[in-house]
Symmetry: C2
Subunit: 247 residues, 2 copies
């Protein structure tokens, strides 16, 4: 007697970068996959609020889709984070194991400092048989440059990108070795950054963009008179260290 049970095939995990905030900056591919899957997952918002990625895709969520808000705490503690990633991976696995494809949506791009990496790597440690695919998206430095109406980089310019929260001590090195420096997640270290930029005489060629491409986008060009700024978590700072020589 042959085994008549068909082995259920696993669902596939998609990581979709849905862009910096304006819902219209999702890619056609991201939107097609998003609409086609039975399960859409996203980072849960803080304090019961709608999260950024969820807000971006809200208008395209289908009533018959399962919506999975996964909890990723905004903390630095490795133990707490690892536990949260494992719990989130387990929630996603429950659906994959039933043969359901899951799309995890993330603001910006999914290969660029994205929660998707932690989720996917945690899941693949326990379930290496899962197939994961990433769909790239527009990342925040490009959106900020578009909002400012300036090129981020041209010609022979060297670009350095630092997650400022962890690497503010590297800012002077970046200024010395790159032509354009982008600091991500700058809010909690802004005053420290401002002092370094003042010492280096770079405040006039520095820009802060809050919530790029969203209706509440704020732009600060020339930081000379702004030693203090109350910024939201998703703020970035661009320093044009050297103007490029065209041609």
């Amino acid at each position: 007697m042959t085994n008549s049970l068909t082995k259920l095939s696993l669902g596939k995990l998609y990581g979709i970068g849905v862009g910096p905030g304006d819902p219209e900056l999702i890619t056609l591919k991201g939107l097609r996959l998003l609409k086609g899957v039975p399960v859409v997952a996203f980072p849960a918002g803080l304090a019961g609020k709608v999260g950024i990625a969820e807000r971006i895709v809200q208008q395209w969520l289908q009533p018959d889709q399962v919506h999975l808000a996964l909890n990723f705490p905004y903390v630095q503690d490795a133990k707490t984070l690892t536990a949260a990633w494992q719990a989130a991976a387990e929630q996603v696995w429950q659906h994959l194991a039933q043969g359901q494809d899951v799309a995890f949506v993330s603001e910006g791009d999914v290969s660029f400092y994205s929660t998707f990496t932690y989720l996917a790597q945690t899941l693949l440690q326990t379930h290496p048989e899962v197939e994961a695919q990433t769909i790239p998206g527009v990342c925040s430095p490009l959106a900020a440059a578009a909002g400012l109406g300036i090129p981020l980089t041209i010609w022979n310019q060297r670009l350095a990108i630092l997650p400022a929260l962890h690497t503010v001590s590297d800012l002077e090195t970046a200024i010395a070795t790159a032509d354009v420096v982008v600091l991500l997640k700058v809010s909690s270290v802004y005053e420290q950054v401002w002092t370094i930029l003042k010492q280096q005489g770079l405040l006039q060629q520095s820009y802060v963009v809050e919530r790029a491409t969203l209706p509440e986008q704020m732009i600060y060009a020339d930081l000379s008179d702004r030693p203090h700024l109350k910024l939201p978590y998703f703020s970035l700072l661009i320093v044009q260290v050297y103007h490029a020589d065209l041609g």
Copy 2:
């Protein structure tokens, strides 16, 4: 007698980043604007061939749109380049002056080492009254990471991006000061780059991606046995200098 002539309003210039190659990686906003303008401009292909940006948007070009192939020579000579930018800006201006909006499409993103910057800056020098708007797109390092199935950066990693053609002498500095290094336009200096990566013991953590997201995409992971590679112009190299410490 009042002047009965109505002043013709100028057309607007859009710079649209249409993504790395896969036409489905254009954004909804880029596609909407692209379809709505009377004039679509793009860099002319080499030797009469269809250019990369034109190929990406070909399926959405409307028969009643003017298609403007602008000549941007692949040379380093400043005088030749400046003359080409001026000629291209003049062609675009002819349409703007008649009140027609022009969308210039560019592969990747329009703020990231893009021909659009040279075109727009040249045009605005002569005609500062022109309104220009940029629509960000997916840039090639993100597309390459998605193709490789690896994160480009996570957590506290510092990223350096170098246009290798001009800055290969900066590679050792970038390796010493960043955790992930991306070299754009690596083809003409590949052997020099390989030698440096060999000296630094980094060949196994280095990847080359040719024509990311196009059907002819090629991936080389681990460059140990590849001292020579014949690469097309749009190839990039990613060096994972340090693996990030999760959490």
